[in-house]
């Protein structure tokens, strides 16, 4: 049984999705979704523990061994990302779309759950598979489900946002597919490890260069690397808040994983950073993302959009960490993947709490909300401090590694840039805090806290982001092992 864990990881949510459509009854679907998410989280943790103890696991799908068959491959990095995705899903899935935050007529909720489970299965599949074409398949499964989820937003603009997301996402997916085609043509294999071994012979051919270009641009579209981030703010802003939390915490993170996998495992540091000089492109783009995202966030009048632009900025930290191609830089990027998933997921959930009570995520409607919803806003403040990177929060751990990487690389200006951008985060977080606590609502102030079913998960994520600000064995510890593995300097 336990040797089949890698495939169960993906199959459970994948099969539960159509099952949800058959079951239809809301309470039963909710239980089913939660059971699926909890099971897949348990499997992820078991896989991570096993990988840390005994090394990578290779699972031949259907007994067909690679390079012919599809291989599922679990190593420290993929197990780490599996835990993030399935962990966040386990917290979020039982919630449903949240009251008032979705455009579904009652009795149709099973569609929502089916889409969410499919998205989760797709993301887990991308992470676990060792086969390039399989990556594409799962990427599209998760993307198609995400378009549906975004389109469920109660606002009509959600449809436009979903359509933009669909167009951009499909371009990205197509690019990935073209890249895969080229790579297959040149090497005759789709297995990632096999590909990595055969690449050195052919990597100077222009076809291979094109393959790398298509793959990296396609994945960057999904990751929303500046300036390919145009789809993200509206998609996050108009999707139901719980969906925003899910996408922010998982979808871009898996795209980041994929980029790191392609760059470090398949194409190799020497080729990507040495010969192609990706660093020269990625450094300025990352910095531009960090600053443009934060500056845009400062100007927003809607809290969800503010958080969405903040995500653009935080994705800049992720890619910045990657572009150092050093141990501390990559550790910083990977641990930020983990930390930001918790923090931003928690923040979007806090917005979901407010939306559930007051129906609005407009900043103007948040005046005095700190007194009406003290627990929700306390969570928002704690999450906001995490975005800023205050010591004691998870955000600090990521920043510490990134600044260290910048100084190690002798790039003091990047260190200053990282720190300066934290100050921009202070500005956008504080606009919300000031409004919520110190602006007069001009109405009665009755305590109306969000239901525990929403508040609980919010605090689970925010609490975790605080916990991992102090106890980092399972965040930074694992991330640094994964980074060492990617760079080939450790097990």
């Amino acid at each position: 049984m336990s040797e089949h864990l890698p495939v169960l990881q993906v199959v459970i949510p994948l099969l539960c999705a159509p099952l949800a459509l058959l079951v239809r009854r809301e309470a039963a679907v909710r239980t089913l979704a939660f059971a699926a998410a909890a099971a897949s989280f348990a499997i992820s943790v078991a896989l991570l523990v096993s990988v840390l103890a005994d090394g990578p696991i290779s699972y031949p799908l259907g007994g067909w061994y690679p390079p012919l068959g599809i291989e599922y491959r679990v190593d420290t990095l993929s197990a780490f990302v599996l835990c993030v995705v399935s962990g966040v899903a386990a917290v979020l899935l039982p919630l449903g779309p949240g009251r008032g935050g979705h455009g579904l007529p009652s009795g149709r909720l099973h569609w929502f759950y089916a889409a969410l489970l499919l998205a989760q299965a797709g993301l887990l599949g991308v992470t676990i598979t060792g086969d390039l074409f399989n990556v594409f398949v799962f990427l599209e499964i998760s993307s198609l489900a995400s378009y549906v989820l975004v389109g469920l937003g109660s606002d009509r603009r959600a449809l436009r946002a979903a359509f933009t997301y669909l167009v951009m996402g499909t371009i990205g997916g197509t690019f990935v597919l073209i890249g895969i085609g080229f790579a297959y043509q040149m090497t005759g294999t789709l297995n990632l490890d096999d590909l990595a071994q055969r690449l050195p012979e052919v990597r100077h051919k222009s076809t291979m260069l094109a393959a790398f270009a298509f793959l990296s641009v396609g994945v960057s579209l999904k990751l929303a690397v500046f300036p390919l981030h145009q789809w993200l703010p509206n998609a996050y802003a108009y999707a139901p808040p719980v969906v925003s939390a899910f996408l922010a915490a998982t979808a871009t993170k898996v795209a980041y994983y994929l980029l790191a996998r392609l760059v470090f495992t398949v194409f190799g540091v020497a080729y990507v950073f040495g010969e192609l000089g990706l660093g020269w492109l990625l450094f300025p783009l990352s910095l531009a993302a960090i600053f443009a995202g934060a500056l845009a966030a400062i100007r927003q009048t809607d809290v969800k959009k503010l958080l969405a632009y903040s995500s653009v900025s935080q994705i800049g930290y992720l890619t910045l960490g990657l572009s150092f191609a050093s141990l501390s830089g990559l550790t910083g990027g990977l641990v930020h993947l983990f930390n930001h998933a918790l923090t931003k997921g928690g923040l979007f959930l806090a917005v979901a709490c407010v939306v559930a009570r007051s129906g609005s995520s407009r900043l103007d409607d948040w005046r005095g909300i700190g007194r009406r919803m003290p627990w929700t806003m306390a969570a928002f403040v704690a999450g906001g401090l995490g975005l800023i990177g205050v010591p004691g929060t998870a955000g600090f751990v990521s920043k510490w590694y990134l600044v260290q990487a910048a100084l190690e690389a002798g790039r003091a200006e990047l260190a200053l840039g990282i720190l300066a951008s934290s100050l921009l985060a202070v500005v956008y977080v504080w606009r919300v805090v000031e409004t919520a606590y110190f602006r007069d609502p001009g109405g009665p102030e009755t305590r109306a806290e969000a239901p525990l079913s929403l508040l609980g998960p919010t605090w689970v994520l925010i609490g975790a982001s605080l916990y991992f600000g102090v106890f980092t064995e399972w965040s930074a510890g694992v991330a640094s092992k994964a980074a060492a593995m990617l760079l080939g300097v450790g097990p």
């Binding site: 010591p391 751990v397 920043k399 510490w400 260190a415 000031e434 600000g469």
Partner: protein, 485 residues
Amino acid sequence: MSADAAVLLALVLPAVGALGLSLVGRWPNLRETVTLLAGLATFGTVAGLVPEVAGGARPGFRATEVLPGLELEFELEPLGLLYALVASGLWIPTSVYSIGYMRGHGESNQTRFFACFALSISAALGVAFAANLFTLFLFYELLTFSTYPLVTHRGTPEALAGGRVYLGVLLTTSVGLLLLALVWTAQLAGTLSFTQGGILAGHADPLTGGLLLGLFAFGIGKAALMPFHRWLPAAMVAPAPVSALLHAVAVVKAGVFSLLKVILYVFGLDFLREGQISLWLMYAASATILIASLVALRQDNLKRRLAYSTVAQLAYIVLGGALATAGGVLGGGMHIATHALGKITLFFCAGAIDVALHKTRVSELDGVGRRMPFTLAAFALASFSIIGLPPFGGAWSKWYLLLGAAEGHQLVFLGVLTLSSLLSAGYLLPVVGRAFFAAPSEPGGGLREAPALCVAPLGFTALGCLALFFLAPALYALLEPLVRN
């Protein structure tokens, strides 16, 4: 109870107090009782540690290792003990004063006020007990965030604007400069632990050392070294008790205390002296002393005048540290205590005058001494201490600072210190003079003191200024191990 446990207890007591008083927020009398009990218990715990530390022990504990090389660790050494004593000791009179002030003023949101107050004491004690730069930084930031709601307490547009400056300056400096200094130090020295004699010697050349010292000196924005002093006057929009405890004692002293710790335990006095690393800082501190004193002379708003006086007085301590001599460090350390008592009294008085007569400007104070004799007498005593006249505590810290300047053959700074004493007389004594000797601007009005709960604490702290003069030997004995070779 072991000393290590006492350190933990002192750290969590105010936080527990904050929690407790939030729970009973509906009953003001009970809430205030909880505040006072927490204050007494905290001070008692800290005071109980004095014999241990004076005997050479360094109680503390290690909570956890956050990242390799980044430990959450606490260790109590003499300077930290002094700062902890000052912060927790003055919390008690401030609590009494707050009760009188907040009720006299009819302020809203009092529970939030008292809870944040208690939390910031916890943060201040964390700064005092920190065994390494990381722990210090963590509590330093916690102190910023827990005091922000106190600064913006009134929620008016001015309060919010003041709060923005407060948070803006303190975070810009700490995140932009101090954190950078931390990472850089960790890379150079391989550790962030406070170590007697410093950790940088042998790992950094004098130029790097000078740059790092600059990052620390300006990065610790709470020390209010110009040009990063703007937050201090901006924070004066806060209610008087906040200005008194936080912006005369806990917050600003957290700044200079942190800087002294960095000078003593990260750079080490020998490294600073031999490389002539801190010469520029002596001039920067002197410039702050003189400019801030001159600005204070021109302020009509009493609290703003006191705020600029604080900026100048803090720079004394920075100067003492930068001199990197035994006298300088001792004088700076003592000044943490003596200035705290003096300045808290002055702020209490300013608040009392506001509560009783609704006067906030120096120009309105003509003849006020006849209506509020106790308050203004306390103001006079505290002023003498700040100026550095015997028999008040301030005389000793000035004496050691002068000694430190002479010891380092930095005679220019003898002049600076003397001149600034005259300037401080220039901005403080006119207040006393107007109050007692000028004819009242408005006729009539008999004795009209502030509520007893306001007057008693300020009388107590004013007498404390006097007592410190006679307690100086004890202070010296406590701090002397810092500079012993």
